[in-house]
């Protein structure tokens, strides 16, 4: 006869053991999975990939068209190819990012500067990218045989070309700004020339007027003020002479520049010549005022 009670004891033991192990393992796995999914993804959502899949799943279209039961066309293959190419481009960018980050991150991990979480996230991103690349190659081969071998090359060139264009574009965009600056600078330079020429012509007239005032007037204080004015104008002439040489050496450095600046000078001189009567008048009137004192 079988002793059921004594036989039940080992069976109960075994069932409890196995049951507890099973619950532990399932709980552990669940928790681990939860932890893995709760980790933040390394990259932001893959927009190009999402668009590609959205296009693939486009029919039936989500928008109810007013055309009734006429079925809109499915997405043409060329659009899907373009979307796939964009997706490959973004993949390359991500792979590059991962590659450049890997070394630094592993170093930081070894030193204990970053937590294990970060490393887990990184590894997961790497694995995902591997899958992603395989998927893209498979899709490409499905459209056109052997496209999978070149799609990433093409995508890579496209990225680099875009980068180069963007940089060159950046330089060209500054053109207007620089032009405006240069116009302003040119105007100020011209103004400076005018002023110098004005000062030159003006000072020569003042010297003549002062000589006349000194000859006509005989009172001492007036003579002294006139002398002061003379010394002042002499100083201004000296200033003109002092500021002139660098300009001339600059012009010597280049033939074209000589032409331009000679033109400028001629124009300025003409303008100054037109202006000079007024300048001379104003300075002489000033002189008179001083003389009255």
């Amino acid at each position: 006869m079988v002793d059921w009670i004594t036989l039940a004891v080992p069976f109960a033991y075994l069932s409890i053991l196995i049951g507890s192990l099973a619950t532990f393992s399932s709980l552990y796995r669940k928790r681990k999975a939860l932890k893995a999914t709760s980790l933040e993804p390394w990259f932001p959502p893959h927009l190009q990939r999402d668009i590609y899949f959205s296009l693939m799943h486009l029919d039936p279209p989500p928008t109810p068209t007013s055309k009734g039961d006429k079925k809109p066309p499915a997405v043409p293959e060329s659009v899907l190819k373009a979307a796939l190419l964009r997706r490959a481009g973004e993949d390359i960018r991500r792979i590059m990012a991962l590659r450049s980050q890997k070394q630094a991150l592993s170093m930081l991990l070894q030193r204990g500067s970053v937590g294990d979480d970060l490393w887990q996230r990184f590894l997961r991103a790497e694995k995902e990218m591997e899958e992603e690349v395989r998927d893209v190659v498979a899709e490409a081969n499905a459209y056109v045989p052997n496209w999978g071998q070149t799609i990433f090359q093409s995508a890579n060139e496209m990225i680099n070309n875009a980068v180069v264009r963007e940089r060159i574009e950046k330089h060209q965009k500054k053109l207007d700004e620089e032009k405006a600056w240069w116009e302003k600078k040119k105007a100020s330079i011209q103004e400076g020339f005018m002023k110098e020429l004005d000062a030159e012509t003006g000072s020569s007239t003042t010297t003549t007027t002062t000589t006349t005032t000194t000859t006509t007037t005989t009172t001492a204080p007036v003579a002294s003020t006139a002398a002061a004015v003379v010394s002042e104008s002499a100083a201004s002439i000296k200033k003109v002479e002092a500021s002139a040489p660098p300009a001339s050496t600059v012009t010597e450095s280049d033939d074209d520049a000589v032409l331009v600046e000679a033109d400028d000078q001629a124009a300025a001189a003409a303008a100054a010549a037109q202006k000079s009567p007024a300048a001379g008048g104003s300075s002489s009137s000033k002189k008179k005022k001083k003389g009255k004192k």
């Binding site: 927009l47 990939r49 668009i51 928008t63 060329s78 496209w147 090359q153 093409s154 330089h171």
Partner: protein, 213 residues
């Protein structure tokens, strides 16, 4: 892991049946403005790419980067040659115009063609246009073009470095000229040919810096 690869965010996209252009369904207002702008910009590039793909012969995929389609290169070379002759005949405005066409053509080279070729071509064209601008006193334009040129091809592009420096000198921007030329000399290396002229200009610039301070 295997599940995440199968997941994706669905976007409400619509296809214009006539032009085959993809656009976001206007009724979707669940996205933030930043998201919206990134999606629309992505879709515009996608549509542009699609148009360029359609213009290819079937099977409508970008050919492998090498060999290059010689048609565009030939056209660009032709434009450049005519621009060069115009420049030699002292017809600088015409030269600038032709170089601009050539640059436009080089810029619109399809993206999947090798980047090295595009860089080389653009660098040469920009350097030449800089020269053409300089001979009609377009210092600003010359400087911008020289900068673009060295951006495209920094090494072995002494001419562009020199032209950029010269333009800056002409505008009296001594400090900028100095740093630009120094960078040029650094990148070109002291031993390569043509660097002598750069150094000469640099000396001139240093005198200018001294004078201006």
């Amino acid at each position: 892991m295997a599940q995440t690869i199968d997941l994706f965010n669905q976007y409400p996209l619509t296809l214009d049946p006539a032009s085959k252009a993809i656009s976001l369904t206007p009724s979707s207002s669940t996205y933030t403005s930043a998201q919206l702008s990134s999606i629309t910009s992505e879709l515009t590039t996608l549509n542009a790419l699609h148009r360029s793909l359609i213009s290819l012969e079937p099977p409508n995929i970008p050919p492998p980067p090498l060999p290059i389609n010689p048609k565009r290169s030939a056209q660009i070379n032709k434009l450049r040659d005519s621009a060069n002759t115009a420049y030699r005949k002292n017809n600088h405005q015409e030269a600038v115009r032709l170089y601009t066409y050539a640059i436009e053509m080089a810029l619109t080279r399809p993206g999947w063609e090798p980047v090295a070729v595009a860089r080389e071509e653009l660098a040469g064209l920009y350097a030449n246009r800089a020269q053409a601008w300089m001979s009609q006193q377009g210092w600003v334009e010359g400087m911008v073009d020289a900068r673009a040129s060295v951006e495209g091809k920094p090494v072995g592009n002494v001419k562009a470095w020199w032209r950029g420096g010269k333009c800056l000198v002409e505008m009296g921007r001594w400090e900028e000229a100095k740093s630009f030329l120094n960078r040029g000399v650094e990148i070109e290396g002291k031993t390569s040919e043509g660097v002598k002229e750069l150094l000469q200009l640099l000396e001139e610039v240093e005198e200018g810096v001294k004078r201006s301070t």
